[in-house]
Amino acid sequence: MIFLETRKLTKNFGGLVAVNNVDFAIEQGKINAIIGPNGAGKSTFFNLISGFHPPSSGQVIFKGQDVTKLPANKIAQLGVARTFQTTNLFEQSTVIDNIIVGHRLRTKSNLFDAIFRTKRLRSEEALCREKAMEVIEFVDLQKVAHRPVAGLTQEEKKRTAFALALATNPEIVFLDEPAAGVNPDETEGLAALMRKMADKGVTVCLIEHKMQMIMKLADKIMVLNYGEKIAEGKPEEIQNNEAVIKAYLGGSAIA
């Protein structure tokens, strides 16, 4: 079943075409990967889907609904979460305090509730805290839950960012280079975590440069180069695709 798809998605920055006519379909419950050389337009593609940039043309369809023109926060409410290449967390605050606000979009309490400490606020606060603990357990960070983010390792920060995305109750998460800057052992741990997310029913779509990991992990891969989709398919198909090899190694490598 097609879960999220882009139709002829295009983004121009002035004269530069960052994403060019990309058709891409994401299946539910699978791990989808987007790869491509630096500057291929992968992050821009994410930004278009998550509502950070309005596309120049084309459409984004999520569960049959056209979400092309929705702002980022509305898209998040529909169940689309994402992480950034840099984790963007609040370093002075603890892991759990960073994550509690992640469930805010599912709550209704407002300033009135805050000033008068209403029942609704208290029950929603408890709910957010519960949700935070649940996702912390899911990403296996219980040991550092009450430590400031500043003192965490890069891998733990990545897990915290995952947890924050999961706290929004997403149906699909977009992960922008989730394994950048972590060592091979930790990369395996993160890959296992992504598999766990997919098994739990959260569709995963990631950008990554670590080919070994991608080839083992992904169910489906799309390759972008200069903003255009040059290949799409299962890992083994991509590995043997001439256009992909050419894009990565240069024209003379075909032979």
Binding site: A76, T83, D97, R104, S109, D113, H146
Partner: protein
């Protein structure tokens, strides 16, 4: 809140309550009341600049709008103080809403510069609109707050208590906002607007709400000032006032709950002590403030809190996991 914090806060409130009784010096009470009024304004600025990350330099303008609204309503329209106070808060809020709607389209430095201009325009309007505001002559004869039943606010002492009441109310409201889901939302916006949006927070709506509350509190501070000093001139909307607010806030600690009180009290007391230096006081303040910003950008309260956290986390490391729930809530 820990037990120690509770005791300290109760002690401070108690001290504030008995202060006019033990100090027979009217001058001290006068200075104290003024400091409380500044603190209220600084709290308004703190919610926006400290917790939401938008440094507004228009707040002296909104302070002046609050003061002039109250002054004009009581002097020229001859309204009773209390409805006039309410109405002046609404006026400040409505003007704040429109100012926020436009200025919040900018960010960071641009926001600061834009609001600086907004503040200056407010000052100019007050200064030049002679027929309404009396211009440079100022507004004279603003009445003291009207009696509430047997309570009268004619004396200095009673006025002190009135202002103290409003200060405590503002602190309570701030405490509750900051420690609620709304407060967490604002802090998330300060931390990273992009990330806040991806977790489903409507940043514009929240920023505008904060901007309006923040201006209303500045307006409250201005209205109390007008009824306390009884005379206002356009100078209260000048750039110098907003930089006073900012100094109090930076010294106390941006984005801390007790920062506005600590910073305001410290600077006011210091500048009273240094009266004999007259304008050369600034030669002392300037360098001290510069050094503070370079070495302790989080202010007195922020730095102290960071030390406390460091100490606690080193204790935590030796004791390892499983913190009691109470300590968790504090974080």
């Amino acid at each position: 809140m820990s037990k120690i914090q509770r005791i300290v806060i109760l002690g401070l409130i108690l001290f504030a309550i008995v202060f006019p009784l033990i100090s027979n010096n009217d001058y001290f009470i006068h200075v104290m009341t003024l400091s409380f009024i500044w603190m209220i304004g600084v709290y308004g600025l703190n919610l926006l600049a400290g917790y939401t990350g938008y440094l507004s330099l228009a707040h002296a303008g909104f302070f002046a709008i609050g003061a002039y609204s109250l002054g004009l309503l009581t002097v020229k329209a001859e309204m009773n103080f209390w409805p006039a106070l309410l109405l002046s808060l609404i006026i400040t809020g409505v003007l704040g809403f429109f100012a926020g709607l436009i200025s919040l389209r900018t960010k960071e430095h641009f926001f600061a510069i834009y609001t600086l201009c907004v503040g200056y325009i407010i000052y100019l309007v007050i200064d030049k609109w002679d027929s309404l505001t009396e211009g440079v002559r100022g507004l004279i004869g603003i009445p003291a707050p009207a009696n509430i039943g047997p309570l009268s606010f004619e004396t200095l002492q009673s006025h002190y208590y009135l202002v103290l009441f409003f200060l405590l109310l503002v602190v309570l409201i701030m405490y509750r906002i900051v420690h609620s889901l709304s407060g967490r939302t604002y802090i998330a916006i300060r931390n990273s607007e992009d990330l806040a949006q991806t977790i489903g927070i409507s940043t514009m709506k929240n920023k505008l709400t904060v901007f309006v509350i923040s201006t209303v509190i500045a307006g409250l501070s201005g209205a109390l000032y007008a009824s306390f000093v009884r005379f206002i001139g356009p100078d209260i909307g000048s750039i110098a006032i907003v930089f006073d607010f900012l100094t109090y806030l930076l010294v106390g600690g941006l984005g801390t709950l007790s920062g506005p009180i600590v910073g305001t009290l410290l600077i006011v007391v210091l500048s009273q002590r240094l009266q004999f230096l007259q304008d050369y006081r600034m030669l002392v303040f300037g360098p001290v403030l510069t050094l503070l910003i370079i070495f302790y950008p989080r202010g007195i309260v922020g730095t102290a809190a960071a030390w406390g956290q460091k100490r606690r986390s080193s204790v935590h490391k030796t004791r390892l996991n499983n913190l009691p729930e109470e300590q968790v809530k504090e974080g």
